[in-house]
Amino acid sequence: MRVTPYAVPCAAALAALAPAGALAVDYMTAEQAQKRMFPEATAFELRDLPLDAALAQQLAAAGVKPQAQRLPVRLARQGGAALGYVVVDEVIGKFERITYAVGVNADGSVRQVEVLSYRESHGHEIRLPAWRKQFVGKTAASPLQVGDDIANISGATLSCTHVTDGVRRVVVWLDLLRRAGKLA
C-alpha cells in the first residue's frame, strides 16, 4: 500500500486552490448504454411519449411525480419483437447531477442501470444554470478542474437515493405506457 498525501499548501497556494473545483466524469453515451443493455437488439426506435391527463393521474395514484411532460423511450427491437426499453434520465442531488440510463425488460423488470455522466460541485452551485453551462462541450478527455482525470472522491457516503427514486419513476411510467399499448 502506498498513500502519498499532498503537501499542505502554503497560504498563497491554498488561496489559489479555493474554491476547490468541480468534478465531471463521462462514463458512456446513451447509445453505448443501450447496446450494452440489449446486445441482441437489431434496432432501437426512439419514441417520445407525451404525458396526457389520464397518465398523469395514474402516475399520481402510484405515488410518482413526473419530472417532465414527456418520456423519451428507446425501444430495443430484434426483428419485430420488442426486447425491452431504455430510458435516459437525470437527477440532481445535494452536490451532484447524475445522468443515467435504465434498461427495462419487456416484462417490466429492471435489467440494468448504468450511470452515463456524473457532475459534482458545490451544493449551492448545483442548481444554478451557470454551473451547468460550465460543463457544456466538455469531453471525457478534459472534464476535470482539480487533480487528474481519474481522480476519485472520498467523503461520507454519497447517497444514491435520487437515482433509486428515478429508476422507480421510470419503471412505473413505462409500466403504465406498456399497459396502455403505447410501447408495442
Binding site: Y6, G21, I153, S159
Partner: protein, 234 residues
C-alpha cells in the same frame, strides 16, 4: 494507460469501477450484487433482514460473505474495547456467529453492517477483477475505495457541509475510506463530529477503522498498526 470507467448504483451509493481499456468491469458489479443481496438492511430476504425477523434464541445459516464480515466485526469489536459495534449500542453481545451459524441472543440485537460491508464489497469486487486477469484498476463505493496494480489514483476529499472538493492524496495498491460523524448523519457516535479517513491495504479494514478513529479521536490508535493502517481526522 487508458481507462474504462463505469458506474452503477449499488450498496445505497454509486460505485465506480475503473479497469484498463479492453478489460471488462462486469465481474466487479456481479460481486457487488452478491454482497448487497446478503447484507442489505433494506432487503427482508438478506441475511441481515432475516436476522431482524429471527426470534431470540433462534439460529440461522448465513452466506459465506456475511460470516466473513461478522467475524471481522467481532474481532474489531473485541480489539477496540467495544468502540466498533455493528449493533450501534443496541445489544453489542446480542449476536454470535460460529462458522456460518448466526444466533440471536438479545431481542434488541439488530445488525447494521453499513460501517464495514461496503469496504468488504469493494475488496470482493477487486478480487473478482483480479481473478479474471485484470492487472490494474480501482473500485470506489461512494468514498470507500481501493486501487490495485500500477495505477496512482488521486483522491479528492469532499467537505460534506460545503460540498467542496479538495485534493488530498495519491493512492497506489491499497484502500482508503472516509466516514463523517455528526448529529445529522447516519454514522453516529455521541459527541463526535468529524470526518475520519483511514488508509489500509484492505478496504474492509479501512472502512471499519474509520469508526474506531472517530470514536477514539485518536489518529494514532494502537489498533491501526496491526492492520498496517494510517488515519486522519479532518
Amino acid at each position: 494507460m487508458n481507462w474504462l470507467r463505469r458506474a452503477q448504483p449499488w450498496l445505497g451509493t454509486l460505485v465506480e469501477v475503473g479497469v484498463p481499456e479492453g478489460a471488462c468491469a462486469d465481474a466487479a458489479f456481479a460481486a457487488l450484487r452478491r454482497v448487497q443481496a446478503c447484507m442489505s438492511r433494506f432487503d427482508p430476504h438478506s441475511d441481515v433482514g432475516r436476522f431482524a425477523a429471527l426470534p431470540v434464541g433462534g439460529c440461522m445459516e448465513v452466506a459465506q460473505d456475511t460470516a466473513q464480515v461478522l467475524h471481522a466485526a467481532r474481532a474489531l469489536q473485541q480489539a477496540s474495547g467495544g468502540l466498533f459495534d455493528i449493533t450501534q449500542g443496541r445489544a453489542p453481545q446480542g449476536w454470535h456467529c460460529e462458522g456460518r451459524l448466526l444466533t440471536k441472543r438479545d431481542a434488541a440485537a439488530a445488525l447494521d453492517l453499513g460501517g464495514i460491508a461496503k469496504g468488504y464489497a469493494v475488496d470482493c469486487a477487486v478480487q473478482a477483477l483480479q481473478a479474471q486477469g485484470c492487472t490494474a484498476g480501482w473500485v470506489n463505493a461512494g468514498g470507500d475505495l481501493r486501487a490495485f496494480g500500477s495505477v496512482q489514483v488521486p483522491i479528492l476529499l469532499r467537505d460534506e457541509e460545503a460540498g467542496e472538493l479538495r485534493p488530498f492524496a495519491q493512492l497506489e495498491d491499497g484502500a482508503f475510506a472516509t466516514s463523517r460523524f455528526g448529529a445529522a448523519t447516519r454514522s453516529r457516535i455521541p459527541g463526535v463530529q468529524a470526518h475520519a479517513s483511514v488508509a489500509a491495504p484492505q478496504c474492509l479494514w479501512a472502512d471499519a477503522l474509520t469508526k474506531v478513529v472517530a470514536a477514539s479521536g485518536d489518529t494514532r490508535h494502537p489498533l491501526l498498526a496491526g492492520y498496517d493502517a494510517r488515519a486522519w481526522l479532518h
